[in-house]
Structures are given as C-alpha cells and as structure tokens.
C-alpha cells in the first residue's frame, strides 16, 4: 500500500483518535462470480473522518453496506464497537444501527412525509420518544444544524438535491449516532453546494464528535472532510494517507485521481 504523509489540513485536532470504532479485516463479498471486495482491511478511529476514494463499481458502497448489515459479507471479520456484525441478533443489529447513521446518495427521504415527519420517524419508531415537546426540540435542533429549518413543513418533492441531502443528514444525526457512513454525499450537486455539504460534514464531526466513513469521488470533498484517505481499486485498498501525502504519490491510479487537483 502506498503510504501518504501526515495530515496537514487546517482542521481542529480530533478527540481521542486511538479508540477503534470499526475494525475490518480481510472482508470479502462476491456477487455471482464477481468478487467485489477481495479482503479489505480498515480501521476507523473515534472522531476520525476517513474518505474512501475510488472509481464507480469498485466496491466502496458495498463495504459500508456490510458495516450496517444491509449486505452479508462472504468472509473476513467486521467489528463495530468491538462486536462482530455477522453474528448479531436482530436486536443487537438494531442497537448497532441506532449508533451508526447512514446517509444515502439521494438522501432517501420518505416521500409521503414532510421533512418534520421524516425526522420524527426515527425518534418515535426507534427511540420510542413520546414527549412531543422533546421531539419538536430535537427536530428543530437537527434541522438548525444543517441550516434547513425553513423547510420543516415541506415535502421532499419540494426540495432541491442539496436540501434533500441536508434533510437526510438531519434525519441521520437526530438520533445522535457515534458513526456516520456517507454514501457519495456530494454526487449530483453543483460545486458550491458540494462544498457546503463537505463543510457541513466537517461541522457535524466537530459538533457531535462522530466518526465517519465518506464514500466519494469528489476530490474537493476529500480535501475538505478527510483526516485520512483510502483509495480503492478492484475490491482492494491500494493506497492510504493524507490528502497532501497522496497528492505526491507515484502510483498511477492515485495519480489519476489527483492529476487535476491543484
């Protein structure tokens, strides 16, 4: 693996970077005869933002879907907070999912519900909150964190792509997850909105002390949000390091990602 140099970005130091919250060893996943993950290794530390860069179809999203139990790995070990995901009961998986937020590419808002109802959904169904005043406060706080308070009573169909992602992020953070998995958070957005979302990811990390894995091929997002970058190709991580360190890499695939970056 190509080792990059230390992180030189101007970001606040992350808190307690030594505790490992996600530990992946030799993770394999095959669809039919195609091996999508060929034994990947990854450690995510507390309050760390790890960006996974890679071309489309190399297995980035499959890896994070395995972490939340949406896909079942074919081999290897996948531990979240020290517990093996593969052996979890439904109840244990539910507890893990409360602690692990997931932001989908399109926001995945429930389109029959308003933004408020979308955010209330995990509070009433998962955390089983009853007190309407507490629910309202948490909904307003979460929307305020992503700068979307004015859209509280709108339907998802009335929101722009960027607003949908913000609302999706608000729904993710409302249950105070310790880990957030971002699946291509800036795809399909204009450069300005992409940058806003990338800084929002950074603000969420600071405010809620979350650890994150960010799947993207947006280099600006990687530059802004990453503490550490992993580059995936053909089901394997081929390089790891800071943005600046990888920028100087001589690996051809890594070079291809960074060649247009100033």
């Amino acid at each position: 693996m190509d080792e990059g140099k230390s992180n030189t970005q101007q970001k606040p130091p992350a808190k307690n970077l030594t505790e490992v919250v996600i530990a992946i060893k030799g993770l394999k996943k095959t669809f039919g005869e195609k091996a999508v993950l060929k034994g990947i290794n990854l450690e995510l530390k507390r309050s760390e933002n790890v960006v996974v860069l890679g071309r489309s179809g190399v297995g980035k999203s499959v890896a994070i879907q395995c972490i939340v139990g949406l896909l079942k790995p074919d081999g290897g070990s996948l531990k979240v907070f020290g517990d093996e995901v593969a052996g979890m009961t439904d109840g244990e998986l539910k507890k893990l999912r409360i602690k692990t937020g997931f932001l989908f590419q399109g926001g995945a808002l429930y389109d029959s519900m308003t933004v408020r109802e979308n955010l209330e959904f995990p509070l009433t169904r998962v955390l089983k909150l009853k007190d309407q005043r507490e629910i309202d406060k948490r909904v307003e706080d979460a929307l305020d964190s992503v700068g979307l308070l004015e859209a509280i009573d709108k339907l998802p169909s009335d929101l722009s792509g960027g607003m949908r992602k913000r609302a999706g992020l608000a729904r993710t953070i409302i249950v105070n997850p310790e880990i957030i998995l971002y699946d291509e958070p800036t795809t399909g957005l204009d450069p300005i909105t992409s940058r806003e979302i990338s800084y929002l990811i950074l603000r969420i990390q600071k405010k809620y002390k979350t650890s994150s894995i960010i799947i993207t091929h947006d280099m600006e997002c990687a530059r802004i949000a990453a503490d550490r970058i992993l580059i995936m190709d053909d089901g394997e991580f081929i390089a790891e390091g800071s943005f600046k360190g990888l920028h100087k890499s001589k690996n051809k695939i890594v070079e291809a990602f960074f060649k247009d970056v100033l």
């Binding site: 539910k94 590419q105 998962v126």
Partner: protein, 259 residues
C-alpha cells in the same frame, strides 16, 4: 440439454415460492411483535378503502344495470321476467359482485402498493428505514396487508348493495317495478349461505391483493423499470390469485352448503 434449460427455471420458481413463504412468515411475526402502527394502518384504510369508493360504486352500479339488461331477453323468452330480481341478487351476491370488485381492487390497490414500495426500494427509502433501526415490514407491510384484508370485504359489501340499485334501474328501463317489490324479491331469495361464503372469500381476496402488492414492491429490483414491472406483476398475480381462491371457495361452499 433440455434438462439443463428447464432446471434453472424450476429452481427460480421454487426460490420464489420459498421467498413468498418467508415473506408471509415475516408478516405474521411482525403483527404480534414490536407494537402495531395504528396511525399508518388507519391512513392505509383511508387510502385503500375510502379512495376506492367512487370507482367500486360506479362499476358496481353499471354491472348491476348491465346484467339485468342482458338477462332480461332470456328470462322473457322463458316467460320468467319476474325472476329478474332474484336471479340478479343470487348471481351478484354470490359470485359476480365479489369477484369483479376484487379484480377492480387488484387493478387499483395491488398496483398502487407494488409501485409505491417498488419506488421506495429504488430510491433506497426501504434501506434507509432498515438502517435507521425501524422495521419496514411492520410499518409498511403489516399495515397495508391488514388494511386490504379489512377494506376489500367492506368495499365488496358496498358494491353488492350499489349493484342491486343498478339492477333496479335496469329493470325499470323496460318494465315498471316498485322499489319495495324489487327489494322484497331480491331479499326473499337470499339467505345466510349466500352472504357468508361470499364475505369470507372477499377477506381472502383482500389478503391476496395486499400480500401480492407488498411482496412484489418489496422484492423489486433497483431500477426505475422495476417499478413498472412490480406494479404490473402485482396486478397480474393478484388477479390470478383471486380466480384460484374463487375456485377453491366454490368447491368448499358447495361441499358445505349446497349438497
């Protein structure tokens, strides 16, 4: 060589049966565990029941009217025009009403559920619900299947009554029969063995419509085309199930009541 082609098809068919059994068991388990989604259930009853009233009402009324107009010449040729109300009521309450209304509901409700859940799958809303720790089967499937199981019999009963009103109008196009006489004749020929089996089979029709719609939507592929396929497949399969259930119901009913 032929065996090599046939086996995968059977394997896929058997896998599909296995998936449906698994889905059914998941539905049963989720009725009794983890709390019932009353507000969503009531919303679905409104969406499925109330929003189908107009369609079921109009089609039932026309069916009753058309049936009388079509039956009249044959009965007149036998000198039995007075039998029209009785013939209509027995055929409509026992068979034509429940089956046609269930087919209309399959077209409207199963397709709508299949398309809705299929589109939720395509836009990752089902995955989002699952990874949030909520239970999509409890929230989406249990509520919809129970709502169709309850609302289709209600719609069917309503359609039966409206269809008989259509028949009254149909008779009075050519003949002159009072409202009182018409309904006295209609009711005089009906008894418990006409109403109950028809009502029971509409419960199964309703269940089949909800189950097939949910199963097809929940198991659609992740592509926009699959939403259309899920909706279409839900209607076709639910309609087929309605005829299969009807065939079984007729056999059971004739064994129990019409010896």
């Amino acid at each position: 060589m032929a065996a090599e082609i046939v086996v995968p098809g059977w394997k896929k068919w058997l896998e599909d049966i296995g998936d449906q059994v698994g889905f059914f068991l998941k539905f049963l388990r989720n009725i009794f565990t983890g709390g019932f989604e009353w507000s969503e259930f009531v919303r679905q009853c409104y969406e499925i029941g109330y929003r189908s009233v107009m369609l079921v009402g109009i089609t039932s009324f026309i069916m009753g009217l058309v049936l009388v107009v079509q039956l009249r010449p044959t009965l007149v040729s036998f000198g039995s025009a007075g039998m029209l109300p009785k013939t209509l009521s027995v055929s409509f309450i026992r068979e034509i009403g429940p089956v046609i209304i269930a087919l209309i509901c399959a077209g409207k409700i199963a397709s709508s559920i299949g398309a809705e859940l299929g589109s939720m799958k395509v836009t990752e809303q089902l995955d989002a619900m699952e990874v949030s720790g909520a239970n999509p089967v409890q929230y989406l499937v249990v509520t919809r299947i129970l709502a169709t199981t309850i609302m289709v019999p209600v719609l069917s009963l309503m359609g039966d009554v409206i269809g008989l009103f259509g028949g009254f109008l149909g008779i009075n196009i050519r003949d002159d029969m009072s409202f009182h006489l018409y309904f006295t004749k209609v009711i005089s020929v009906l008894d418990f063995t006409d109403f109950l089996p028809a009502l029971v089979k509409t419960v199964f029709f309703g269940f089949a419509i909800g189950f097939v719609g949910c199963y097809k939507g929940f198991n659609s592929n992740k592509g926009t085309e699959s939403v259309g396929i899920a909706a279409n497949s839900a209607v076709v399969t639910a309609s087929l199930w309605i005829f299969v259930i009807d065939a079984i119901a007729v056999q059971v009913t004739s064994l129990l009541f019409y010896k």
